[in-house]
Every structure is written in structure tokens, then in C-alpha cells.
Symmetry: C2
Subunit: 322 residues, 2 copies
């Protein structure tokens, strides 16, 4: 079913046919995330009608008390509450040892009321911690961040139906879908190869049948590579690095960057920009996501999507008597 946002984007795109496009259509993550949340809210209500009193359960495990982590966790808990997910926050003190953190993960793995478990990174502990080991201790069936090796392996080898997809690239795919531009056969370019953005983004575009090029800090001819992209996803972590004149006319541009740059006109003394230079890029792209209000809100929405998906599997298992 075509959503209203999608329909409106298509109509705007259609209106530009035949004439040179001068300003890109802005793809709003705020609007798209809101639609996703509405859909999930209805789905949770439906689950409750199937099994009285049932609620999808999400647990956020935090070590320590970083201010930025606290902000992110609040946003997640708020979004979950709005949808009807039973979200809990477990905070271990920064004096916790790795063994204690692992013990907590294992006991949450065994709790049937929790369908999604995320470990808030970075771990703020006075003790040595191996984040990889802790992330991989999360049961693959509850790993709604999609960061464990097993989920990464399935995604990278094309088993998309049988894994949790990391939230940021999953949100990017949803935004690309909203443009109405088909991915199959297109030239896609991903800048960045991180575990949470670039690498899984490559996988998603590849298994949606795009021809995918991955660029990174060692790429020598970045503007030329970018100029070939029908679909460009940027997760480079460098403020306004991608300039408008690099882009292919009409490209879909998805910006995962969140960078703070000095701005004396702001009370805070800084403003948030993406990895793409928005002003010039929007003169050349066909579709572009803003920063803020683009990919950011989608990440939290997709975490909710994965949690509801996990709860759905749990319910199906119960119904099958398994």
C-alpha cells in the first residue's frame, strides 16, 4: 500500500518531468518515522487482541551514566511507550566488571518477557570491556540492533528474511522506498564501511539488486565515484564533505551524518549538519534527506520495528505451540 508521504513525493517528482529540476524533493525522516510508529502502534494493538495482556518487551542495558547515552535512551524509551512496547532500562554502575555485564546479558536472554535487548554503546566503565564480546553475547533472536556476528553474517550473505537489520541502514532503505525510486539495477554508492551504517547499507542495497560501490577513507577519486551514483548513502562522519557539484543530476541522496560545526548565530554556538553540503546538493539531487530530521528519527523508528518483529515471531511460536 502506498503511503500518503510516498504518494505526495511521487506527485512532486512527476511535476518536474520534462524540465530541469532545480531543487530536490526533501524526504522527511520525521514524517516517515511518524508513519512507521503509527503502523507499529496498530500492530501492537492487534497483538494484544490476539493474546490478552501481551506487550512486546524491549530492554536497554546501560553501563555507567554518560549524558549523551542518557539522551539517546530517553528517546528510545519514549518512542517505545508511545507504540505500546513495554520498555525497560537497566543501568549497571560504571564499577561493573565485564563478567557482571555478560551475566546480565545472559539473564535477559533467558527472560521470555523481553523480545529485544540492546546494549547501549559506548560502555562507560572503569573496568576493561570488550564491546564485541558483549554485543555477541546478546541472543541473535533478541538482537534488535542487528549488531551480532550472526545477524551481520546472514545480512551480508543475503539471508535478509532471517535476521535483524541494523536500524540506521534499515531506516535509509525505508526513506529510499518513500521516494518511489526503484533500487534494482541502479548504481548505488555507499560512503563508509562501519559496522552500524556503511557495511550493512552495502548489503541491503546489494540484495535489493543495485550495483553497489563502497567508498571509504582510502578511496582516491571520491567525487568521480559519487558522480556515478543514482542512489548515494553517506555515512562518512565528515561535516558537509559531499558537495553538490559532485552529484549526478537527479540522484537520491541519503545523509547519515550528524556533525556539530561552530555557528556564532546560534545560542549554543554550534549547529548540526550532515556529511552532505545540503544547500548545494539540493540544487542537483532529485531527492535528499535533511539533517536534522532525516535519517536520525528513522533509526529509533526502525529499532521499534525490529522489536515488534521479534515479538511477532515470539507470538507465532506460542501459537504454533513451540
Amino acid at each position: 500500500m502506498m503511503s500518503l508521504v510516498c504518494l505526495s513525493l511521487r506527485l512532486r517528482a512527476a511535476g518536474c518531468h520534462g524540465s530541469r529540476r532545480s531543487v530536490a524533493t526533501v524526504v522527511s525522516g520525521n514524517k516517515t518515522a511518524s508513519l512507521v510508529r503509527q503502523r507499529l502502534q496498530m500492530e501492537v494493538q492487534e497483538m494484544r487482541s490476539v493474546l490478552s495482556g501481551f506487550r512486546p518487551g524491549l530492554l536497554v542495558l546501560q553501563v555507567g551514566d554518560r549524558a549523551d547515552s542518557n539522551l539517546y535512551i530517553s528517546a528510545k524509551l519514549r518512542a517505545a511507550a508511545q507504540i505500546g512496547i513495554d520498555a525497560k532500562h537497566l543501568r549497571l554502575p560504571s564499577s561493573a566488571t565485564q563478567d557482571q555485564v555478560l551475566q546480565s546479558v545472559l539473564s535477559i536472554n533467558a527472560d521470555p518477557a523481553v523480545h529485544g535487548l540492546i546494549v547501549q554503546l559506548p560502555l562507560d566503565s572503569v573496568n576493561p570491556m570488550d564491546p564485541e564480546r558483549i554485543t555477541n553475547a546478546v541472543s541473535p533472536e533478541k538482537d534488535v540492533d542487528g549488531l551480532s556476528c550472526i545477524n551481520a553474517g546472514k545480512l551480508s550473505r543475503g539471508d535478509l528474511k532471517d535476521c535483524f537489520i541494523p536500524c540506521t541502514p534499515n531506516g535509509c532503505m525505508e526513506l529510499i522506498r518513500q521516494t518511489g525510486v526503484s533500487v534494482a539495477g541502479k548504481q548505488a554508492v555507499v560512503i563508509g564501511r562501519s559496522k552500524i551504517v556503511g557495511a550493512p547499507m552495502h548489503d541491503l542495497l546489494l540484495w535489493s539488486n543495485a550495483t553497489v560501490t563502497t567508498c571509504h577513507s582510502k578511496t582516491l577519486d571520491l567525487p568521480e565515484q559519487v558522480g556515478r551514483a543514482d542512489i548515494l548513502v553517506v555515512g562518512a562522519g565528515r561535516a558537509e564533505m559531499v558537495r553538490g557539484d559532485w552529484l549526478k543530476e537527479g540522484a537520491v541522496v541519503i545523509d547519515c551524518g550528524i556533525n556539530h560545526i561552530p555557528d556564532e548565530r546560534k545560542l549554543s554556538g554550534h549547529r548540526v549538519v550532515g556529511d552532505v553540503h545540503f544547500a548545494s546538493a539540493s540544487q542537483r539531487a532529485g531527492f535528499i534527506t535533511p539533517v536534522p530530521g532525516g535519517v536520525g528519527p528513522m533509526t529509533v523508528a526502525m529499532l521499534m520495528e525490529n522489536t515488534v518483529q521479534s515479538a511477532r515471531h515470539f507470538l507465532l511460536k506460542i501459537q504454533a505451540g513451540g
Copy 2:
């Protein structure tokens, strides 16, 4: 240390400087595999001097009795014996059930004398089998084929030091190293996205810092994509698909294809060709692997490499008292 083959390839390449290259240097998999086997043989002898009587152990688990599987298994057992690996072949009847196969895998996982376990595919059984499930039952520490989700996940996310790399792409990397051409910053193109060739090949080239493009059956402009490749790896499964005039002058061309085409001049009525049209490609490439005698022999050599690597880990653990 630069090997003799590598040095000789470099000298040949250097001789072409300044003039238009007319015939590519052929990168022999037979020679390179032989050097790998010699190195491994010495390493196994060294292990035996460290722990008297110790031998790396490899087990090939087969279900049924396919003639082609029997041939491949013989080649593996022969190569293992030559190096000093204790290789065993366990054949279950085609009447075996999936549970019986899984039970065998679990009992081999627990056997400390086996450092590498491979399940020969396809499984030739009269009963329904889920090859994914069986492959993933192999302990990640013994998965010398590198086909389990966990090893695929680590490779795809760049943890190359902590995983087994699938043998065919690992062999391709060894052949690329033999050319002396550096990978970092180069444009690499991979044709194919299979679990055993294309997808892990992408990962290896990416984490060697190439800018990598993955092409496949849905790629619309394959000749154009191929024409940009400094390094081209082809695992498409289509006889002589890549033509010489598609190539960038001087490219490194690695051909993973093994295809049988009719040839009435042969007694067998057919001959084996790769996915690259060798005659035309060798007029334009800088380096090219032949078929047969290119990637093929490297696959078995790299299986031995992984088995010896696994045994090395085992020995280190024993020495550490773990």
C-alpha cells in the same frame, strides 16, 4: 619475504614499462599453490618439533556418494597427506537423516584431534536436508571452509584476523599478492555475490582498502563497470562471459569460473573454460589467471592453510595452558 614466483612476475611486469603491453602475464595457480603447500609442510614439521607426535587434523564429512564429490574429496585428502595433515573422510549413507548428520557434526566438534571440519556440499541424501543449518552447526573454531554465519559476519565487518576466510576468495587474494600489484586505493570490481566466492571476495578487497563495486545478474551496464576495474574478480558461472575489449588496459584479472563447453577436438567432447574469454582478455590485461590451473588449485591450498591455522591456534592454547 617476496617469493620467487612473485619476483619473476614483477620482473616480467617491469619489462613492459613504457611500451604498450600486448600479452598479459599469466599468474599460475599451480605454481602458487605448490609454494603454499611447501610453506605449510614446513610449518607442520615445526609443530611436530614443538609437540612430539602432533599433527593438524582435518575431517571431511560426506553424505551419500556423488561422483564429483568423491573426486573433490580425494584431491583434498591427497593435498592434506602431502603436507602432513592427518585427514579423515567420514561418509554417511544417503539414507542418513538430518538429525544424524547434525549429531555427527556435534561429535566431531567435540573431538580435540580434529582442527578443521568441512561438510562436503551438496548433501546427497534421500531425506530433506537444510544445508545452512548443518553448515552453521560446525563449530566456528573448526569451520575451515569459512561458511558459517559467524565467520561470514566477522569477515563482512572487517574482523579478518578473527575468522576463517572462505578458500576460493582467499586463494584469489594470494594470486593478486603474487602479481605485486597493491590493492589499497584501487578500483576493484567483483562479478557475483555468492556465499563462497563473490560476497567474501568483496569483503577481502574492501578490507584491503580497495574501492569495491559488486556486479551481478541484475547489473545493467556490466561492460562499463568492468572497464573501470584495476582489479577484476569474476565468479559469475557463465562461460567466457567477460570479453577482452571490456577490460581496462593492464588490469589484474582473476577468473573463478569452471565451465564445460562442447569441443569436438577433445576426446571427452568438451573442454573447461573460465568466466573470462582468455584469448581476448590476455591481449589487454596486465595479469590474468588461466582456467584450469588458476584459482582452482588455490582453493585446495587455502583449505590446507586454514586447517594449519586452526591447528596453530589449538597449539597456542595448549601452550598457554588453556
